[in-house]
Amino acid sequence: MARITLAQLAHSYLKAPSGPADYALKRMDHEWEDGGAYALLGPSGCGKTTLLNIISGLLRPSEGRIAFDGRDVTDLPTAERNIAQVFQFPVVYDTMTVFDNLAFPLRNRGAEEDYVRRRVGAVAEMIGMTDALGRKAQGLTADAKQKISLGRGMVREDVNAILFDEPLTVIDPHMKWELRTQLKALHREFGHTMIYVTHDQTEALTFADKVVVMHDGQVVQMGAPEELFARPAHTFVGFFIGSPGMNVLPARVAGAQAWIGEHVIPLAGDHAPQERAEIGVRPEFVRLAGPDEGIPVVVRRVEDIGRHQIVRAEHAGREVNMLAPEGQAVPLGEARFAFDPEAVNVYVDGWRVPARDEKETAR
């Protein structure tokens, strides 16, 4: 298990990148803790798989270094990095039995047969496949195969990190829950450093201690799920995480107030004056307001999704959503929305600006 350091790391698939647009991965510096569970979250094409392949050594970064526990591994091939990877589509060796599949990485490294038997037995128990050890891997279901892939990763005791590349894509929904829970439990018990790539926010938020949100080749925020929810560092994070995403409205900011047009929005903290800012507020912190507060909106649609209702409205042509408790009557047509001042974030050029009296949180 290892601490992973990315120093000045950047990657371009082009031979001579000329501008930032040519980089699949823009320069980044990160330190990922030993034993942490990290999720790389972002839409397709944001660079998360590139980053994963750089960590696993399938791809050599065009710039910068990568180190495991302080040891530079940038030039080491995959096999020598001692990592494990679980792929999107289950990779098992069809002609081998489950036992031989699990034993494969150990035997390739010349382990004693006694040790192999002990390890495979232990791992089979972890992933709950003790009964299937003698079976051929070929006829198994996708989730069983994915468990074998995971088992092959964990069978080496000294593995530096286990990487997951959207491992639940081909798994049935009801099995997803089980596998995710099992993964979480395994992480808690054995403390492997785990890096999990996904575009599914639920997967990322339930699995990881730290979620690394990526957008356009950049890490836009790295933090615990609560942080991403309460203080998205970038409007993209606000949009991408949460369902529906954060409401973002252009505003003017000065002191503890923001103006959307002529409507005043109270803020919790004190802000430097900004003419061209945006305010972001999650639908969870929007409520119906009286005639003298908030902003006027036109309610277009109310979606009842069981636990609560999503109220879809518009203000000056921009979508504003509100989560209303179940049972609250929300009439269509004109209404006013007010925001909880504590939950209003201020953004300039897409990035969050903390209030002057707020303690700077690490991004």
Partner: protein, 291 residues
């Protein structure tokens, strides 16, 4: 649900039945007809019963041709399948060169049998052929018209040249269907090159390789044109394979009765061997899926 009974559907099958009747059943029956009769010319036939069959089954000539045929098929399979797999493994996977290689590979398959035979017949000649001349210039005593071994080497190399591409193309298709993740996983598991082949590539190629073996076996077992053009079955009877022998008997000597019996035995042997292959293949598949 009630199904309506409509016997008129038979009319739809009729054209096929007629076609098969005229193209396969009638000629086959002619052969069967010849095989049980004898003639002394003038289109007069006498009932001969199973005499020709007995004679053919006991004939040393046929036994020898059969053994030569088996040896030929076995040798070309033993060369073409591993060689084809080896070439497929080393072909570029993407880019311009992949296309170039594919075209080059497909070329021999597009040349008619007759032409392939002629090419090699000339290529191997000691007086004017590039290969034959070069070999004798190097001091190697090579002459496919006089030395049985040289004749065999020539027709085998010719068949390998002509048909290895088929195995290559099939194996290549099998290899291309393997997702990259398998190779990446193998790297991570520190599998050696041999293990990657044994546990990833070979299992994925199994299906196409069985087809390749079946196709190459049947084709080589029935081969006629190329060796006939090159060696004419000689020197002596050294390269007289089954079909060459059959043609000699039927058209050269005009022994219609024995040749017909020979044909039927030949046909049954191919049928039997194909059935064995098919059964083995389907059984293997069934076994795999049961596990």
């Amino acid at each position: 649900m009630n199904k309506t009974v409509n016997q008129r559907a038979w009319f739809l099958v009729l054209p096929v039945l007629l076609l098969v009747g005229f193209s396969a059943v009638v000629p086959l029956m002619t052969v069967v007809n010849y095989s049980v009769q004898d003639t002394f010319g003038n289109n007069q036939f006498f009932w001969a019963g199973l005499e020709w069959f007995e004679e053919m089954l006991a004939s040393e000539r046929l036994h020898n041709a059969f053994l030569r045929q088996l040896a030929f098929s076995a040798i070309i399979l033993a060369i073409e399948v591993p060689l084809g797999v080896f070439v497929a493994l080393n072909m570029p996977k993407r880019g311009v060169w992949a296309s170039v290689c594919l075209v080059l590979m497909a070329l021999p398959l597009l040349i008619p049998w007759n032409v392939v035979g002629t090419i090699w017949q000339i290529f191997g000649r000691v007086d004017i052929g590039l290969l034959g001349y070069a070999l004798s210039a190097l001091g190697i005593d090579y002459n496919y018209t006089q030395d049985p071994i040289d004749a065999w080497i020539t027709i085998i190399v010719m068949d390998v040249w002509h048909w290895t591409s088929l195995v290559v193309l099939l194996a290549y298709a099998g290899l291309r269907s393997i997702p990259d993740a398998y190779y990446q996983a193998a790297k991570i598991d520190q599998a050696s090159r041999w293990k990657v082949f044994r546990y990833i590539e070979l299992p994925k190629m199994r299906g196409v390789l069985l087809i390749a073996v079946l196709l190459r076996f049947m084709d080589s077992f029935m081969i006629y044109t190329e060796p006939f053009v090159v060696t004419g079955g000689g020197p002596g009877n050294a390269t007289t394979l089954l079909s060459i022998d059959l043609v000699k008997m039927a058209i050269g000597q005009f022994d219609l009765g024995p040749a017909a019996a020979f044909s039927i035995i030949y046909f049954l042997v191919i049928l039997l061997l194909s059935w064995v292959f098919y059964t083995v293949m389907t059984n293997l598949d069934a076994q795999e899926s049961r596990k």
